[in-house]
Symmetry: C2
Subunit: 346 residues, 2 copies
Amino acid sequence: MRISDLGEFPLIDRVAELVTVDRPDVIVGIGDDVAVLDAGGEDWLLAKVDIQVEGVHFLREAIHPRQLGRKALAINLSDIAAAGGQPHYALVSLALPADTDVGWVDELYRGLRQEADRFGVAVVGGNMASSPDGIVVDVFVLGRVQRQHLLLRSGARPGDRVLVTGTLGDAAAGLALLLAPSIGVDAAVRESLLARHFTPTPRLAEARVIARSGRATAMIDLSDGLSSDVGHICDQSQVGVRIWAGCLPISPAARRVAALSDRPPWELALEGGEDYELCFTVPPAAAEGLASSIEQGTGTRVTIIGEILPLCEGRWLVLEGGEVRPLEARGWVHFGPGELSEGKER
Amino acid sequence: MRISDLGEFPLIDRVAELVTVDRPDVIVGIGDDVAVLDAGGEDWLLAKVDIQVEGVHFLREAIHPRQLGRKALAINLSDIAAAGGQPHYALVSLALPADTDVGWVDELYRGLRQEADRFGVAVVGGNMASSPDGIVVDVFVLGRVQRQHLLLRSGARPGDRVLVTGTLGDAAAGLALLLAPSIGVDAAVRESLLARHFTPTPRLAEARVIARSGRATAMIDLSDGLSSDVGHICDQSQVGVRIWAGCLPISPAARRVAALSDRPPWELALEGGEDYELCFTVPPAAAEGLASSIEQGTGTRVTIIGEILPLCEGRWLVLEGGEVRPLEARGWVHFGPGELSEGKER
């Protein structure tokens, strides 16, 4: 059987079973977004790695190397944020074709450094190798979390509200503009959406407020797409969910691209992915108060977009007119049929 | 300028300059084989990443995926050993073509698990992505070292003896057999050399004796080749070196392959690389005693192969007949001219 017949998530489950160990120092191993480790210190360590492959995650001609450097680090920082932690160190593995321009590598590292400085991260090591084909950038990030502040995908309880930071669908709208340059939007709209696609902002400040509040029950960052990522919370918390399409925070710019692409805006927000906003669950009595604290502390908008249901009630999307649909995970999946033939850049 | 015009090590120096930070918690950043971090615990953390690219480091048709899994982890464990530490956790990034067989991935993870179990390491996370071309396996390892036991490339002093564990050149001899199957050696010789090439053993037990002795002044693992790796000790310790070719520990099997390939055996030992033995320096009065302790404690042979010189005296290789040659780093270099056209598997 080929891995494309099995799909990414079943393959991960399969290999996780091959390597999972029961050790008291491994608080969270394979399966969540980050590993949580008790390495003897007061805090727990958070470890995360994310690989970026040319032709799959990025197109060399479309992204500036400095943006790629920033993004390759940012998407890992986002996972550390989602666990309620702070990032400290990064290591970078690069596989490079021998004809890569030295200036391109310089710019990649300038982007890494820029993003690292912004969030107090030190790039402390790495590794370079030649590549017979495309470029591969693999970034490993190490962080720490106070034990009592750790947030995982598991922990959501029926009745909890589902909240998100920022706006959803902007990165997908930016990608849509890249793939179909004929979509006519004005320069400011284009620029803002491309920035969301190329240089996502890890929500570390927002995550710190959420973690310290002690009110959130589960958290994840939105990388694959809300429908897929909220599904991870449901899987690991053993709950259902109801998402209200009409409440999804969608920017005017993303709404404009959705209209011009003839797609409902909630579809971009639900299925687009790569927004790197935080999605978290909070008991109903605390939800509005926490949303306000985050907004006051960081200036970032927070929106209640749904509620957690008992497992047996399933996963639903409620459209604005009242129509109820099953909430299907339609985010990005590696090894899925046709993933590359569609020319998607992820 | 292309990176092939610059070469691997100047490129590493160049990007290191772009990202190096002066922080008290970064004990060793980019430049040594491992990052050494003070993350608040009693011990220091050791972090290391090493990427394996199909067509550069391995050929899919030549190596069994279980061997590849073992090796991808082992080469990182070897770096943790060389710093005097113990490995604890690993994360694995994989880029896989969509048509990769699920059984191949299973076997890769079985190899990872096997090697991890052998050395008390937990595989705690990772990441999978599709690859439009070849397979990429990037393994990150996190370990710990007692502060007083840390060993680096720097620290060697004139007069110190240079010691190595095990035998040198076996992995290169195994590679020679792979690339020229016509070299006629008997099955046992072939098998032992291929095992050294495909499944190197990280010298963790030996490193523990060395680190605890407090006698070694510098240490490195032999990945690129002795001439290149001892050069790293010289660079970072600001010393010269004299290596005695006649003292290099070379197995009868490697000598046989050298003879059949019409190469002097010391050339395999000096330039071959991938032996993953330890090379370390010890003040003269302590060298023989430490060698004996290691042999008694682990059963692994240890050989004195040279001596550290003042920087101004340079780097020399003394042949058995007394001829003295400059010791040139001729180990593996990424992005070097013709590295791939020679079809080398590294």
